[in-house]
């Protein structure tokens, strides 16, 4: 059977590098938001946004490297298409996280005190969804049977995020804030919630990839 399976595939270590860089990006995203919750807008927040951006760019570079390797090391077309699609959809999650930070920065958003606790929870749920994505991708290269359990967890987090988003939006519109502020904060909530929506899309893709190989 060894001749059939062969040596460790070079793609595996590259994908691991990509996943580590993606996780670094999402950790920086969390740090930036923690800083924002505590200290609001400022130089430190800007620096953490830049740190997140650098990690995202590096993850992008590794993704392109993987894409080239896919052709050079010639996976079967079916697998090639699956990996390309998977990385592109994962990249969308990172882009979304980055755009949430840019939204706060460019719109000079001030988060009212009464929203902070729920917003923290929302961020945690969405970051958890992305961490599950990286776990599920790792499982794809370890044991296909584990993938489904992890994607189920992503689904649960996405539902929890949806629920919390509705609660937050209700709180925003009940408050005394101006209409303009209400709309901007609502958008921020929805954009943050998109992280788990996009994570769920990656999860769906992973389920299809797995199902095809579980015959």
């Amino acid at each position: 059977m060894v001749w059939m399976i062969g040596k460790k595939h070079p793609l595996r270590s590259m994908l691991e590098r990509y996943l580590k860089k993606s996780e670094e990006c999402i950790v920086n995203f969390k740090e930036a938001l923690e800083n924002y919750f505590e200290k609001g807008l400022g130089r430190e927040f800007d620096e953490l946004i830049e740190k997140t951006h650098i990690a995202e760019s590096l993850a992008d570079d590794i993704r392109r490297e993987v894409e080239l390797t896919l052709y050079e090391k010639a996976l079967i077309p079916e697998s090639r298409g699956d990996i390309l699609g998977l990385l592109e959809s994962t990249d969308k999650v990172l882009n979304k996280a980055q755009s949430v930070l840019y939204q706060i920065q460019s719109e000079l958003l001030q988060l009212p005190e009464f929203l902070k606790e729920d917003f923290r929870k929302l961020v945690d749920i969405n970051i958890g969804a992305f961490k599950d994505v990286t776990r599920a991708i790792r499982a794809l290269f370890r044991d296909l049977r584990e993938v489904r359990d992890i994607t189920n967890e992503i689904d649960k987090r996405e539902s929890a995020s949806d629920h919390l988003e509705r609660e937050l939006i209700k709180k925003i519109f009940i408050s005394e804030l101006s209409v303009g502020e209400k709309i901007l904060l609502k958008e921020l909530v929805l954009e943050t919630g998109n992280i788990s929506d996009l994570s769920q899309a990656v999860g769906d893709r992973l389920n299809i990839i797995t199902a095809k190989r579980m015959i």
Binding site: I5, L11, P77, E78
Partner: protein, 311 residues
Amino acid sequence: MDPRVLGGVFLGWSLGANDAANVFGTAVSSSMVRYRTAVILTAIFVVIGALVEGMPGIRTLGSITPQSINTAFFVSLAAALTVTLMTIAEFPVSTSQAVVGGILGISLLRREIEWRSVFKVVMCWVGTPTGAALISFILYFLFSRLLINFHLHFLTYDRVMRRLLIVAGIYCAYALGANNVANVTGVFYRAGIMDASTALLVGGLSIALGALTYSKKVMYTVGLKIIPLDAFSALIAVLAEAITVHVYAIVGVPVSTSQAIVGAVVGIGFYKGVKTISVNTVKRIFLAWFLTPVVGAVFSVILGLIAKLRF
């Protein structure tokens, strides 16, 4: 060697050029296996298959009717013309049916037919697509259950599929050589101008030459038409085709690899509950199934009459 043997060599060459697509077509056209690797493996294993297990088919074709060097030449020529005509008309042509049609034409002129052999051959033609469909259905069921027990992850699955496709292709090339060599030199062996080992070697080499020199275009076009399926289904289809054609090589009846792979794909469709081949394709296959031996017989009768052979 008599130059009229070249008729057989030409037929073998066109058979190799056409049928290599049924061996590695899906794997090559979807970039799972390199064209170069595919044709070299096809050439090697076609010759091995012909040498090791080609004899029963040669005996069967020889038993339909006696041959002289002239009739053998006309059978080959009639078969080659039939294959060309049917290919131009874009029918999925079977060289085996064309050759048997040619032999039947000569037999009719001679009024010497061994009907038992003809019946055996025709029954096997019926059994080719149906047998391949049944085998692919069973293989899909068994292999999918077997594969799931290995708990392969993404990359090992990819590797295993690629390697199994090569193994299945090699087996299919072997089966093609074993089964179809009789089409190429069977009549010349019966005419007594070749001994058994020469007939098997010349036949195998002619098919290999066709695969090596002129199979690229067919492989890319036909390969894509055959299976727009996933790697696992492609593997099962080629394996079912190989087993079917190999069984008939053992039985000693040359059959069509094209019909075998179409049957195999239909079998996978049945298993998955999806339609893999259009009704129009099936209609054309059935039409070709009847037309090919008839056209082959007509050509050989015409050639025989033109040459005013003494039967």
